[in-house]
Each structure stands twice: as structure tokens, then as C-alpha cells.
């Protein structure tokens, strides 16, 4: 099984050389964020396009106002706070390699993001208007649901990284034999964590921007 490291690196016959292995999640992460950016662009484009057209004055028909700004701000603060906690935690991990100090930070970040999702669900079920109440209502619901689902993905990825840190604490690496780094050919925790930092930072910015656009423009 995977928990028993194979010493294949020493003989030079590994699948990916270790220095390439650590770059895979980072490059893949940046590309995924690029794809995600293009997934989110249409929602912002739809906002400004439909607002500018305001067909038959149905962008915000009478009676449609942005829902509770207080709840919306709470959603944003919880999500951005979760991302910030993760940033501090992964910084410690990458700079000092202290896995035990990272684990509680990972859990805290997860709790904050889950809370953000929960508050947003409450917000979406008490909007004061329905999804069929014009252009603004459509974009509000669509964009909120899209970034909330992505916050769910963030929680899963946080779970994976935090659990991996716990696993590494319980299974300290075998000492390298001949100066070659540990050769077990699984993605190193540091690489996973750094890649998640890219996605988390991006998503935090998206939530912040959505909050500004949906509640104040």
C-alpha cells in the first residue's frame, strides 16, 4: 500500500523526478484558477450587461432590493476570514514545517467557510424576492449559488490538506538514505498546500468582489 515508501528515487527510475512532482500542483492550480476566472466572468458580465440594458425597466422591478446587507457582509467576512486563517496557517507550514501548528488553523478555516455557506443559504432563502423577479434577481441568485458551490469545493480541499497534515504527523517520513529526498511518489503536502493557497486566495477575492457588486452597485 501507499503508506510504505518505495525507495525508487535513489535508482533514478521514478515516474516523475521529485523536483518536477512538486511543480505539478502549482502549475495545475494556476491553470485551474484561470479556467475558474473564465467560469465566473459571464456572471459579472451578465450583471453589468443587463443592468445597462435595463429592458422594460425590469432590471430591478419595483419591490426588488438587495437583500440584507448585514447577512451579506457576514457571508463575505466569514469566507474571507477563513481564507485569511488558511493563509497564516500554510505560511507557518511552508516556512517552518510545523505540521502540528497548522492542523488547528486548517480546522478553523474550514469552520469559517462552512459558516459562510450556511449564512448564505439563510440569505438566499429570505431574499424578499424570487429568482424570476427580473434581471438583478437572476444574477444575484446565480452568482451567489456559483460561488457558494465553490466555497464547498474549498472546504473539501481544506479537509484534504488538513487531514494530510495529520497523516504526516502520525507517519513521520523515513529518513532519506543517500541524500535523495523521500521518494514516495505521492504529492507532497507542501505542494498541495501551496496550490490550495492560490485557489483560496482567488476565491476570497471573488467573494469580496461579488459582495461589492451584488450589494452596492
Amino acid at each position: 500500500m501507499m503508506s510504505s515508501p518505495r525507495a525508487s528515487g535513489a535508482s533514478g527510475t521514478y515516474v516523475h523526478p521529485p523536483e518536477q512532482l512538486v511543480r505539478i500542483p502549482m502549475v495545475g492550480g494556476w491553470l485551474a484558477v484561470g479556467a475558474d476566472l473564465f467560469l465566473l466572468l459571464p456572471w459579472f458580465f451578465a450583471f453589468f450587461y443587463l443592468e445597462a440594458l435595463n429592458t422594460h425597466h425590469d432590471w430591478k422591478p419595483s419591490g426588488v432590493h438587495p437583500p440584507s446587507v448585514a447577512l451579506g457582509t457576514l457571508v463575505m467576512l466569514l469566507a474571507v476570514g477563513g481564507v485569511a486563517v488558511y493563509f497564516v496557517g500554510i505560511r507557518w507550514l511552508l516556512d517552518r514545517g510545523t505540521y502540528p501548528r497548522f492542523v488547528p488553523m486548517g480546522w478553523t478555516a474550514m469552520v469559517l467557510v462552512v459558516a459562510s455557506i450556511a449564512v448564505n443559504v439563510v440569505q438566499l432563502s429570505h431574499m424578499g424576492f424570487g429568482v424570476s423577479s427580473g434581471g438583478y434577481a437572476s444574477v444575484f441568485v446565480g452568482l451567489s449559488v456559483v460561488y457558494t458551490i465553490q466555497l464547498g469545493v474549498l472546504v473539501l480541499w481544506l479537509l484534504a490538506v488538513t487531514n494530510r497534515a495529520r497523516y504526516e504527523i502520525a507517519h513521520p517520513p523515513v529518513a532519506p538514505t543517500d541524500g535523495v529526498a523521500l521518494s514516495e511518489e505521492a504529492m507532497p503536502l507542501e505542494a498541495m498546500g501551496a496550490s490550495l493557497r492560490v485557489f483560496a486566495g482567488f476565491l476570497g477575492a471573488v467573494v469580496l468582489l461579488s459582495w461589492l457588486v451584488l450589494y452596492f452597485l
Partner: protein, 635 residues
């Protein structure tokens, strides 16, 4: 549980006993689970939403059914390991089984996935091609006689969208996955599990798309492949299949894009500098940026259509604060890069093969790379040429017309590469080369008619006519599909160990080349004469031309059967093994034994020379396969 069982390739070495088949993760159990859970979700959704077509139920059924199919096939296993914090290996060593069953499950070998893609996409090509024959049969008469107008439109839409799926993946899927890692000296793709997922989304998309035939009265969708709102908002239930299937193919394209790019960026062997990268791999770099970034725009657009249909939001309904123009802008912002997702891999194939058969270095390698990258970048700035006649602000037209005409510059560069490489060359007219030369001929016509259409006054006249249909068939069929033929003849010996029969190949080539042109050249005339697309009724005076086209279309269809026949005959009925490097190519994949070992290279090679040094007696071999320092290349 053993790793093989975890990965869903369970029932292989120990025979296919019924009990093993029913209790492991395999295609059969996954199909059963997917169907049952999909129907449950459909039933649930239909009960939650009883207002109209029951779109919520249909959409939910497709998504839940497909997701549970993928999970039951085994895609959740390693995901669960990740979530539990367990290290997941880059690659589980092959257990030595070479059983045929590995083609029916999740495989982490990029060569198996390449073959899966090849067989799957060619099957889809045949289905959609058969529909083309149905279309041509209907058009034998100027009035509907086989299918009423609504069904004819659905038929054209299904043919069009299925062919879009084929064109998106027909080169990247089989040849990109199979050969890019080998060409750059890597043992694996960067993300082998995602690679397998990209493939398995394809049959799901095909099934979902064709299930739309059974939705609603009449079946199918009325919009053609472009799915314009707000017709799509109002269409019957078949539209839901369009939305979900297109999203699946888009997802597959994004995943393939991220995977191939990461592979090429990170996993090049030592010495494989950017200036030694095979031009086909460069084409993959250029195209996969489009493939990673454009389909997400489509996905969001289609989610909006789905919301409009299922929960009555109004992104595209002008009566309620939406706008159908919004759809057109976003669809074509995806749609134009999408057509370069078809074209650029074909350029890569053509430029990769020219030097091999001309026995000369590739002329202008660097400007060829610049041409393909430039083409990819320009493709983001031209999308409004599709909606010149939709009522966009007239002031926007000159910009998009000019931007579109600029595209002929990078395209022209690729033609210069071709002319320079062929100049004073001793050309070997083997079948792959014939198809490459035909590619340039066909694409020239496709490209030039594109310049016509970019011109606003001409487009105002020709929009929505058969001229447009002729244009994009020349680029996609005459261009990309001909490049696919070339690639198949070229790489078949490395994949299967058998040469495709040269004589049958020559027959295939000449029938394909002649009947393709006699089929589609008259489309331009039909367009000038005002025959509209997607309509089964036309002026009776055009019947003679249409009959001529239909006969030639049948013959072109027959030519494709010759191609398939050649594949089956050469693969299954010829016992003679192909030599390891029948074309005397310098490229890395041809330096390996056939079949390529599961790990590609025992040791990662060191690249010491470029791949196109033909006719240079002092050129070094392309790679040193001995003990290698295995240092990461500098980016």
C-alpha cells in the same frame, strides 16, 4: 482492498466470473447504478417542479445519473483517499495485465486513454456522419418529404452538436493524450486520473445528447448547435439534453487542457527546451489555453439557460429584464475560440508530418510557433463577426471585421512553413503526406471563404446561408478531419504495431479528397443563390445542384467506411508487424519499441538534438536513452 480493485480495473486476470463482474466497480455496475440513481433523481425533481416541462427533474436526473455513474466506475476512490489525508500515488504500477478489459474502465495509462478516445470519437463521428446522410437525403427534394420541418431542424442540430463534440476532441483526445507525453520524454500525464475522467465524460455526453430525441413531443432541440436563447428558453424538454451534454464536453475539454498544459510545462525531459519541442506539442500548448479557458464561459452561459428553463430566472427573456443578446455575446465569446480548438491541432499535425515526408528541416519553426500562438490569442478578439446581422451597434463592426481579417496573418505563416518546407524537397507521397497536402488545399479554401465572411457587407448577404455551411465544413472537415486521417495513417503503426494498408489508404485518400470537394464546393454556389441553412424547404430551381451534392455526399460517406474498413482489416486481419520506425522519423515516439512499454521510458531520456534535422548528416540522434541525470528542464 487491492489497488487494482480500487481503480476499477478489477475483473481482468482472474477471468470474468459473473460474481466478480457484479461485485466490482466496472462499466456494467456503473451503468446500472447511474441509470437507477438518475431515474430516482428525475422522479424527485419532477415532483418538486410540476409547473411545465419538468426541466428541473430532467436536469437533475442527467447530472445525478452521470455523477453516480462516474463514482460507481471508481472515480471517487482516490478522491476519498485525498479527503482522508492519505497519500495518493502518482501512478499505481501496472499489475502486468494487458487484458482488453482495461479499455472499459478507468485507466491511468495515457496510451490506453488515447485509444479509448480514438475509438469513442470515431464511433461518434460515424453516428453524426450517418445523420449527415439523412440530411442529404431529405434535401433531395425541395419540400419536406421524410421529416417534417421541426424534426429536420432537430436532425441538423444533433448532427451539428455531435460533430462539434467530435471536432473538439478528435485530435487532442487520441493523439494528444497518446503522444504528447512520449514526445516530450515523460512517463505520465501530470494528472492521470483527470485524464481518465475527461474521456469518460465523452460517452456520457453522447448518451445524454441522444437521449434528447426521446424528450418532449418531436424530440431533440430546435435551435441548431448554437442553442440561441430565447428560443432555447422556450424549447421543449429536449433542450435540457443539449445543455448537459455540452457542459460535459466543455468540462472534458477544460480538464484535458489543464492536464496537457501542466504536462508540457512541467514534465519535459532534460534537454527538451522550448526550441526543441515538437511542433505538434507546441500546437497543443497554443490550443489547450483555449481549451482550458473558453469552455467555462460556455458552461456558465448554459447554466443560465438551464436556470431560465428550470427555475424561471430571466437572463435571456426580454419580457422580464433579460436579453437574448447576452446569450449571443457569451456564446460566441466561447464559440470563436472553440473553432480554433478545432483548427490549431490540425496545423500541428500537418507541420509535424511535413518534414518527415519532405526529408527536410521544418522551414521557419519559430515563426510557425508564433503563428499558432498568435492565432490562439487573436481568437479572443473576433467573436462579434458571428453576430454582425443580429443588431449589434454598427460602430462595433469595423473593429471586429479588421480583427478577423488579421487572423489571415498567423494562418498565412503556417502556409509559409508548408511552402518553405516543400521547396525543392524530395517528397515521399505516402498516404499521411497525401492527406497533409490535401489539408492545405482544403484549408486554403476554408480560410479564404472565412475572409469573405468577415467582411460586413458580404456577411450581411451570406449570413445564415449555405455559404457559411460550406465555409465551416471546409475548415473542420477538409481541415481538421483530413488532419485526423493523416495522423491516423501516420501513428497507427506505433499504436497497434500494424501498418494501415497503403493501397486501401490510397483509395481512401482519393475518394475522400475528390468527393469531399465535390460535396462542399457547390455549397458556396447554393449560398450565393440564397439557400438558407437548417431549413428543409428551398427554391425548386436548386434541386439539381442539391441532388448532385447528395450523391457526392453519399460517396464521401462511403469513403469514410473505406477508412474504417482499412482500420479493422489492418488491425485485426494482417499478421505482419510494422517496423518500429516505418517513416524514418526523428521524433522521440518513433525511437521507442512498439508497443510502447507501460512506463514509456525505462529511464527518462536526455534530449540532445531537435526533432527536424532531416538531411543533415552530422545531426545527433534526438535523445540519449542511457543513464540520465533526470534534472528538471528550465522553463
Amino acid at each position: 482492498m487491492s489497488q487494482t480493485a480500487l481503480l476499477g480495473s478489477g475483473p481482468s486476470s482472474r477471468g470474468l466470473s459473473l460474481r466478480r463482474v457484479l461485485l466490482t466497480q466496472n462499466l456494467l455496475t456503473a451503468s446500472v447504478v447511474g441509470t437507477i440513481l438518475g431515474l430516482c433523481a428525475y422522479w424527485l425533481g419532477a415532483h418538486l417542479d410540476t409547473t411545465d416541462n419538468g426541466d428541473a427533474g430532467i436536469l437533475l436526473g442527467y447530472v445525478v445519473g452521470s455523477a453516480s455513474f462516474l463514482l460507481a466506475l471508481g472515480f471517487g476512490n482516490d478522491l476519498l483517499r485525498y479527503l482522508r489525508g492519505r497519500p495518493v500515488a502518482v501512478e499505481v504500477k501496472s499489475t502486468g495485465t494487458q487484458s482488453w478489459t482495461r479499455y472499459f474502465g478507468i485507466s491511468l495509462d495515457h496510451k490506453v486513454v488515447g485509444v479509448q478516445f480514438g475509438v469513442g470519437v470515431i464511433f461518434m463521428f460515424l453516428v453524426a456522419g450517418f445523420q449527415a446522410m439523412m440530411i442529404r437525403t431529405e434535401l433531395l427534394r425541395p419540400k419536406p418529404y421524410l421529416w417534417p420541418a421541426g424534426q429536420y431542424t432537430a436532425l441538423v442540430g444533433l448532427h451539428g452538436l455531435m460533430m462539434m463534440f467530435v471536432a473538439t476532441l478528435v485530435i487532442v483526445g487520441p493523439f494528444g493524450n497518446y503522444f504528447v507525453p512520449v514526445m516530450i520524454g515523460a512517463k505520465r500525464m501530470a494528472f492521470p486520473r483527470l485524464e481518465a475522467l475527461a474521456f469518460w465524460l465523452v460517452p456520457l455526453a453522447a448518451i445524454v445528447l441522444y437521449s434528447s430525441i426521446f424528450q418532449g413531443s418531436g424530440g431533440g432541440f430546435p435551435t441548431g448547435w448554437t442553442g440561441y436563447a430565447n428560443l432555447a428558453d422556450e424549447a421543449r424538454a429536449g433542450m435540457d439534453g443539449y445543455i448537459v451534454a455540452f457542459c460535459f464536453i466543455g468540462t472534458a475539454a477544460v480538464i484535458a487542457g489543464i492536464n496537457l498544459l501542466t504536462t508540457i510545462f512541467v514534465l519535459r525531459a532534460p534537454g527538451m527546451s522550448w526550441s526543441r519541442l515538437p511542433i505538434f506539442a507546441w500546437a497543443m500548448v497554443a490550443v489547450e489555453f483555449l481549451s482550458a479557458l473558453a469552455p467555462p464561459v460556455l458552461a456558465s452561459t448554459l447554466i443560465m439557460v438551464g436556470m431560465d428553463r428550470a427555475v424561471h430566472s430571466s437572463f435571456f427573456l426580454p419580457s422580464n429584464g433579460g436579453s437574448p443578446y447576452l446569450y449571443q455575446e457569451m456564446f460566441w465569446f466561447f464559440g470563436h475560440p472553440e473553432v480554433y480548438i478545432f483548427a490549431i491541432p490540425a496545423f500541428g499535425i500537418a507541420l509535424e508530418m511535413l518534414p518527415v515526408f519532405a526529408r527536410k528541416p521544418l522551414f521557419g519553426y519559430k515563426i510557425g510557433v508564433a503563428g499558432m500562438v498568435g492565432l490562439a490569442m487573436l481568437s479572443w478578439f473576433v467573436w462579434n463577426h458571428h453576430i454582425f446581422t443580429s443588431g449589434i451597434a454598427p460602430g462595433l463592426r469595423p473593429f471586429f471585421m479588421t480583427a478577423t481579417e488579421f487572423i489571415s496573418i498567423p494562418t498565412g505563416i503556417v502556409f509559409l512553413n508548408m511552402l518553405g518546407t516543400l521547396w525543392r524537397a524530395k517528397i515521399s507521397y505516402r498516404v499521411p503526406m497525401l492527406f497533409v497536402l490535401a489539408f492545405f488545399f482544403n484549408f486554403l479554401i476554408g480560410g479564404l471563404t472565412g475572409v469573405f465572411l468577415s467582411d460586413v457587407p458580404l456577411d450581411t448577404t451570406l449570413h445564415g446561408t449555405f455559404f457559411v455551411v460550406g465555409h465551416f465544413h471546409y475548415t473542420i472537415v477538409g481541415g481538421e478531419i483530413f488532419a485526423m486521417y493523416a495522423a491516423t495513417y501516420y501513428w497507427f503503426p506505433k499504436i497497434t504495431g500494424k501498418m494501415l494498408n497503403e493501397r486501401i489508404g490510397q483509395i481512401h485518400f482519393w475518394t475522400a479528397f475528390v468527393f469531399f470537394n465535390t460535396t462542399f464546393m457547390p455549397f458556396f454556389a447554393l449560398g450565393f443563390l440564397g439557400m438558407p441553412r437548417r431549413v428543409p424547404t428551398y427554391f425548386p430551381s436548386l434541386q439539381g445542384l442539391n441532388i448532385f451534392i447528395s450523391i457526392n455526399a453519399y460517396l464521401f460517406g462511403l469513403s469514410n467506411l473505406i477508412f474504417i474498413g482499412n482500420i479493422i482489416y489492418s488491425w485485426a486481419f494482417v499478421s505482419e508487424r510494422a517496423p518500429a520506425n516505418p517513416w524514418n522519423s526523428r521524433s522521440l515516439e518513433w525511437q521507442l519499441p512498439t508497443p510502447i512499454p507501460p512506463d514509456n521510458f525505462e529511464r527518462i531520456p536526455t534530449i540532445i538534438a531537435g526533432p527536424y534535422e532531416y538531411g543533415n548528416p552530422t545531426a545527433l540522434p534526438v535523445a540519449d536513452f542511457g543513464a540520465s541525470p533526470a534534472v528538471a528542464p528550465s522553463v
